[in-house]
């Protein structure tokens, strides 16, 4: 009886505390639950999207672009040798109050910046091991190798010292792992003995403050009135977790959601003609490719790789497999990234010429090769097996017998990185919009056994270009270098570039100023409901 009474009392208290529901509520149909609300710990878009309304970074990507703009740092200067970046921090930035009773007593300052990075970097940080402490992105972006030190110059100035110049560093810091947390909140929870709450109940400086999360059901946020760029135009933001794409679309049609993630390709045509829906689209920041292992004959010969590029009917793959949600890839970077070389032309589909080139290169047919396809659907490749089958049919026309091979996803990647394949499919989704984040996949360091260069192709001229571009802070010079690099890649043909996916986002007509992010992010600050 007393248990029931307590439950009722709790309900009464909660109903008083409950945020009133406004008409000005935007509902986003997301696809899954976040692992937690600390981006540094996570690797999935679902988790990043859930944390993003709450947080800011020092520098950020301008909404809908890959351009790096000021965030919590209002300006920065890079030293002439490229090894020091000094950030001037924004003053008067407020942190949210936590739903667990935390009330900030001070504004954002340099201590918060140091804490946010040291948690991921320094094992002696009290939060280093909290919630598993994996920090995959911090490590994958080589931050421990790149960073020499991060120092507080004064309360509003922070200096990042690098071991070597690195132009993509700014773009790295705009990534989700560069999120700035409140050190005061961290200390508060540590004192309370509940540090793990830090990753479950987020407190940030972002446009929306966290209200509640019910696993697999809903995440609620409300507009933060003191946000440094002004209060959001919507009062409440709700993530309705809806895993099935057909159900998501039905909810958008009925007005139960305003924006949805990842529509079913089969629904795209209907969405285009739906009067209640605006179907936005943008090429994804990704690439699907088919790598030729140049360490295995006959792919050590450039002419053979070129012949294989001509043997595949790419247009048929785009039409059949991507069903309108993909565009043919010409370069190893997607066209949304700066330095994309529009002058590079793709190999034309020409099986006859391919056959002749093979013969000229001394390849006797029938030639047996293997063709690996990954066992999972990826954002850049909806059906690798189907693509492999189409390639197999095309290759048969030039006298090549391709044996289709696959393994469990983890095993597949491991074996490909070891270079066990002769040819194989994979792809890449960009992290920070910097060309280097794609070109490194073809660099010499990644061509080692176990490295991510799956063609195992190491071209000195190409490598010099991308290394030079990585350390230069002159954008025009970098652009030129990357453009040259793309010419080499096309000529050397270590890959058959398959496609960049096209990302579709259906939104209801009453949603104003929503922008599709090239990173596949879902951002709601600046969005309005008519």
């Amino acid at each position: 009886m007393s248990f029931l009474k307590a439950k009722f009392a709790a309900a009464a208290i909660l109903s008083v505390l409950a945020v009133p529901a406004y008409a000005n509520t935007l509902v986003y149909c997301s696809e899954g639950s976040p692992e937690n609300f600390t981006p540094a710990l996570n690797t999935t878009g679902t988790s990043f999207d859930a944390a993003r309304p709450v947080y800011n970074q020092l520098v950020e990507f301008e909404r809908g672009t890959t351009k790096v703009v000021p965030g919590l740092a209002e300006s920065w200067t890079v030293s002439p040798d490229g090894k020091e970046i000094v950030f001037k921090l924004r003053k008067g930035v407020k942190f949210h109050s936590g739903v667990n009773g935390f009330t900030p007593t001070r504004d954002f300052n340099a201590d918060d910046v140091l804490f946010s990075f040291e948690r991921q970097w320094k094992p002696d940080n009290p939060y280093f091991k909290v919630t598993g402490g994996a920090y995959d992105y911090f490590n994958d972006m080589s931050m421990p190798d790149l960073l020499k030190s991060i120092d507080k110059v004064d309360d509003y100035t922070v200096k990042f010292t690098l071991n070597e110049p690195n132009a993509p560093m700014l773009a790295n810091l705009a990534m989700d792992f560069g999120t700035i947390h409140s050190k005061e909140y961290a200390d508060f929870l540590l004192k309370k003995g509940t540090p793990e709450q830090f990753d479950q109940i987020p407190v940030g400086t972002g446009p929306f403050s966290f209200v509640a999360y019910q696993k697999d059901a809903v995440i609620r946020y409300k507009a933060f009135p003191a946000y440094y760029e002004g209060k959001a135009k919507i009062d409440n933001l709700v993530f309705a977790i809806t895993p099935d794409p057909t159900a998501r679309y039905a909810k958008v049609k009925k007005g139960e959601c305003h924006v949805m993630i990842a529509p079913n390709p089969a629904d795209i045509t209907a969405m285009k003609t739906d009067p209640a829906i605006n179907l936005l689209s943008q090429p994804g920041l990704n690439i699907a490719y088919w790598a030729f292992n140049v360490q295995k004959p006959p792919f050590d010969k450039k002419e053979v790789r070129q012949a294989f590029n001509m043997a595949i009917d790419k247009a048929a793959i785009i039409k059949d497999v991507y069903q309108g949600a993909g565009q043919a890839a010409i370069n190893p970077i997607p066209p949304t990234i700066w330095s994309y070389n529009t002058a590079v032309k793709d190999y034309a589909y020409d099986p006859e010429k391919a056959k002749k080139m093979l013969a000229d290169a001394g390849v006797t047919t029938p030639l047996d090769i293997d063709l690996w396809w990954m066992p999972v659907q990826r954002p850049y490749n909806p059906n690798a097996k189907r693509i492999a089958e189409m390639m197999q049919a095309d290759l048969a026309k030039i006298g090549v017998n391709a044996k289709l091979v696959s393994y469990e996803w983890g095993e597949y990647r491991k074996r490909m990185q070891q270079g066990e394949h002769i040819t194989g499919q994979l792809g890449w989704t960009g992290d920070n919009g910097d060309p280097d984040n794609f070109f490194f996949l073809l660099g010499c360091p990644a061509a080692r056994q176990g490295g991510q260069n799956l063609a195992k192709w190491c071209n000195k001229e190409f490598d010099d270009l991308i290394n030079k571009a990585r350390v230069s802070s002159d954008l025009a010079e970098r652009t030129k270098l990357y453009e040259q690099a793309q010419v080499i890649v096309k000529e050397e043909a270590p890959w058959f570039t398959i496609a960049h996916s096209v990302v579709y986002e259906p939104i209801r007509k009453e949603v104003v100023d929503y922008k599709v992010s090239p990173f596949g992010r879902h951002e709601f600050y600046g969005v309005e409901l008519k």
Binding site: A11, A18, A21, N36, K215, D216, A217, A250, E256
Partner: protein, 336 residues
């Protein structure tokens, strides 16, 4: 009776041990491990992989991992989710009320419709109604849940606009924190006008989808059990005494016919919890089924093992209770 109960309870123990062993091994037979699944295209260096495997205890011999796990279970510790770092039992208890609420509604629907329909079919044996009921029951029994759910969403929610598409309550107009985890109760406790009705509306389609198969099974079982009872001597005697057909069927026949139906209802618990996996996915229902599917995809061993153990445990206990209830209402078993 007591001896039967003790014997029956004792028999569940080896079932639990076998279940624990099979679950533990089966989960590890799924290719891939939790760390490699997480890393995606970028992969992970062998050093970091080894470090994480060590931290999770995955580098120890499997038998040692099993003993630790069994020891934890004996002490009520189901482990911690590799993905969310939350205790598995806590996650399960947070999500289970949603599954239970849906399953109970589906079962209620199945019983409330299935039993009368089965009785009617038996009474009108060989007639149009009987054939119709049996045809519909067969269709219901063979219904692919995924297809059925999406069809209902498109038809009832989208085209006719009668019910919401998915979720548990209208998220735009209502907000309250869960107290019991049962949305119908929480919506009442919230004191927000219309919240209960919204929660009830959200239950309609998933209950129909999840209840379809049990409904078909219960209707068929009731029919065949009724047919058997209706041919018994005591029913003929009741009729001969001039009792009204309603009294004969309702009082004398149905009471006895329901005994095997009760067993079937108990057995449907497993079907409901298993069927809930798909229903929860389609209707964005935040229950344990959806959570288990995600745990498989993420190779979250503790969550997967714990979830299967807990659900199986519930099924075993429910079946045990049904067996005991069956014995209580049917003396022939007790003395047999």
């Amino acid at each position: 009776m007591l001896r039967f109960v003790i014997r029956r309870v004792a028999l569940t123990l080896p079932t639990f041990v076998a279940l624990m062993f099979v679950t533990f091994i089966a989960v590890r037979l799924v290719p891939g491990d939790p760390i490699e699944v997480r890393t995606g295209e970028r992969g992970i260096s062998p050093e970091r992989l080894a470090q994480f495997r060590h931290e999770l205890g995955l580098d120890r011999p499997v038998w040692q991992q099993f003993l630790d796990y069994a020891n934890g279970l004996v002490h009520g510790d189901f482990g911690v989710s590799i993905v969310t770092k939350t205790p598995v039992l806590h996650e399960f208890l947070t999500l289970f009320p949603a599954t239970l609420e849906l399953s109970l509604c589906a079962l209620l629907l199945a019983v409330v419709i299935g039993v009368p329909v089965g009785v009617l079919a038996a009474v009108k044996r060989g007639g149009v109604l009987d054939h119709a009921v049996m045809a519909v029951a067969l269709t219901g029994y063979s219904m692919p849940i995924f297809w059925w759910g999406l069809l209902l969403i498109m038809l009832v929610s989208e085209s006719w606009g009668l019910t919401p598409v998915s979720g548990r309550v209208d998220l735009i107009n209502y907000y309250f924190e869960p107290v019991t985890g049962f949305m119908l109760i929480d919506s009442l406790l919230s004191d927000q006008e219309g919240a209960f009705w919204s929660a009830a509306q959200h239950l309609i389609l998933p209950s129909i989808v999840l209840g379809t198969i049990p409904l078909a099974v219960i209707a068929r079982m009731t029919r065949s059990s009724m047919l058997e009872v209706l041919s018994e001597d005591y029913v003929r005697t009741a009729r001969a005494k001039g009792l009204s057909p309603l009294r004969v069927v309702g009082l004398h026949a149905l009471r006895n016919a329901l005994i095997p139906v009760v067993t079937v209802i108990g057995l449907q618990t497993g079907t409901l919890l298993a069927g809930a996996v798909l229903t929860e996915h389609i209707f964005a229902w935040p229950g344990v089924g959806k959570w288990l599917i995600e745990s498989i995809a993420r190779r979250d061993y503790p969550a997967l093992q714990g979830g299967i153990m807990l659900i199986s445990g519930i099924v075993i206990v429910v079946n045990l209770l049904v067996d005991l209830a069956y014995v209580a209402i049917n003396p022939r078993i007790r003395h047999g």
